[in-house]
Amino acid sequence: MMFDLLKWVKPDWHPTEDDLLLYSDGELFPRQAAKIHEHLESCWPCRVRAEKYREIISQLVDCVTTALAASIPPPPNRWSYFASRLHNTSLRPRSLGSGFQYAQTFVRSEMVRLASGGAVLLILSLVFIRMVVPPGAAPPLASAGDLLRHSTDADLQRLKQVHQPVIYQKLRIRAGRKSFTREVWRDASNHRSKEQWPLSTSANVKLGAQGGANATPPEAEDLKQTFASNNMAWDDPLSAQSYDNWRNNVGTRSEQVVRDGDRITVSTSILSPNGPESIAWRDGGRLVAAHLTLRTRDLHPISEILDLRSWVDGKEAARQIEVAELNYEVVPLSALNAAIFDDAVPALGSAQMSRADGSALRGAVTPSAAELTDSEMAARFALHKVGADLSAPITVELRAHAKDPGVTVTGILESVAKKQEVLQALSGIPYIHTDLKTEADLSQEGPSRASTSESTPSPGAGVPPPHSPIEKQLLRYFQNQGAVEAFSEQAFSSAESLMAHAWAWRRLSERYGAIKAGGASLLRPSSQQLIEVMLRDHRDGMRADATALMKTLEPVLISSVVEPTAATSDSPLFDRASRVEALTLYLLFGNPASESVRATPEEAAQELLEELQLLCSELEKQQ
């Protein structure tokens, strides 16, 4: 402590500013504090000086904890992703490496504190830490898994912008001392791919203009084997998804994310690899470390370094493969030479990769009921994130007592791109089996296969009759048929979306209730939070749609059909949303499916507005 004890016994002694601050801060030893306390009892000027410090402290605490807390903007996502991030982290294999990585920061600083007591240990530890952490490496801001998922999502978004997208990628692959140029066309819609190996990088072979050299090098087969044996996609060698597949199937790993200007590099090293101890090059070797570099602005992968090892008869050999992107484009299939895919091979897409992951995990362990429930909730949340729990008829079924326990996701999707998006969202979640088809698949298989899954009753199912019971009033209000149709479409769209959220909310609520009835231990807090986030999102969606519907309908119906009155019903959320939809369809399309609508259009319109108001206020209450 920084006190001169002698000064404390002088008769004319007064505490210094430092003494008073430390006293106010409670940082003095008890005897020193007692001495100052005693002095302040008898010395008015010093008491006032001490009180000034207390006042500043009081104001600071008020300012920061009350005023600042009340005025800082709330977190934009309201912490809604914490549960899923925690859950994803819990699904990852435990890694001594990452624990060490976090620990080393603390160990390093405490080493410095204790330097006098253990200089040798300090030097050894610092040398070791220096070897593990490259100089200048920044600590990760996002986890490797998060970045890879975002990168995959970003690439999928690019695909969605193009009709029947074909990915053209020109890569330089360096294996040992040899370097090759490889061009790949991947037809995402039809799951086929085509490759070419121009002899020089200046070849003008691009986008299907097959005119250049195309000699597949003998090393290509080895490279293909290497990628396959390490769970990476040869058809899509430079991708976050392929990288993610590899890292999810290795043993204990250590990871680092470093941003350097316009590039972010994810580095992964295996600490204790899975698989046989001995592995030869002809078996592909073992990938022991990899570095994937992404472009910061769009998280697109631009290069990759793969460090491989072989172990045969106790001898170790190393080799390195570098993959760098020279060109990348997403073009519509129609822009290519029609013959380019004539001799194409089926592509090993994300669906196959995903199944391979699931099989590997299923074979390794028998999951507990709680683990299966976690997987189910992770799958539901993945579907929720891509909006597949709203309109698509997709079911998520937990089969805890089946011969092969797992979670089955079954459904029909409107397009191949959507199917890929869903498969991508589900990839990495353990114990998942998927049976997803597109509408095109079903039409090829014949009409009898069209209803194999639990279907979400579509509010627009069936062709609504063209005549609305209030057609005359609407025509009078809008003056022309086109405006009436636009109004009806807008209202129908809001009602349809409202009902989609209501169905999703109901299914989830029922499932949540069933899980809780089966035992709270089945649901971990992170899964519970996922459910609550999804339920909240659906309530928010219903609220937005109900408000939109109200804005669309109210001015028209009030002025042309009814006068609003107060209403007093207390139907549950789903019933009310369902009633709103039925009334909307009846009023605007004369939908006869709504048997319970009232006798006259005026009464139906009035009830619709009342129900909408009640639905909005009910949702408001549950916010």
Binding site: I56, S71, S90, S95, S109, L141
Partner: protein, 188 residues
């Protein structure tokens, strides 16, 4: 001594002391997150000045704590551990975006809400007081400001020293200078 409960942070084997021992790691972290997140978020906001980044960093700090303990690490004082991790992440983000202490203006302080139901005169006085305080805090060097904010969050000198990775005497000196300046400029 205020440092006693810090022994585990050195190298020790300590469980999540203030939490229920029969809870799973996820439950413990979730509970801890719900208890501490607002304070951590507020502190990080004062460094990075962006709610989105502050939210991300706050969550990341708790995820790191979870990963650390799950992979065999032991933490005695999880609150200080989280603040320290969040501080490092925030400083790193600050360097990345070239945010300096002076450039992070506490804009939101100019919109401070008064306490519930003060009379108009008190409200004006309070707003002026907070505005002056804000101006003084903004002029403080980063380390002094961080010491003050962590003190306000209830950390002792030793805890602040470990969070900021400086010596305890540095913390004392920073606080002394900051308080002296606040006292002079604030004219209490």
């Amino acid at each position: 001594m205020p440092t006693d409960h810090y022994d585990g942070l050195h190298f020790g084997v300590i469980n999540m002391s203030s939490l229920e021992s029969d809870m799973t790691g996820e439950e413990q972290i979730t509970q801890l997150f719900e208890r501490l997140r607002d304070g951590v978020y507020r502190y990080v906001m004062t460094i990075v000045g962006s709610s989105g980044i502050a939210e991300e960093i706050t969550q990341e700090a708790f995820i790191k704590l979870y990963s650390f303990t799950r992979n065999g690490g032991h933490v005695s004082h999880e609150r200080a551990w989280v603040y320290r991790t969040a501080h490092n992440l925030a400083i790193n983000e600050g360097c990345r975006k070239q945010i300096t202490s002076a450039s992070v203006d506490w804009d939101w302080l100019s919109k401070v809400r008064p306490d519930p139901d003060p009379d108009p005169e008190q409200r004006v006085l309070q707003q002026e007081k907070y505005a002056r305080l804000r101006a003084t805090l903004n002029r403080l060097p980063a380390q002094q400001k961080q010491c003050i904010l962590l003190r306000v969050e209830g950390f002792g000198y030793s805890e602040i020293a470990r969070i900021l990775d400086v010596s305890k005497s540095t913390v004392g000196e920073s606080l002394r200078r900051a308080m002296k300046r606040l006292k002079v400029e604030h004219d209490v």
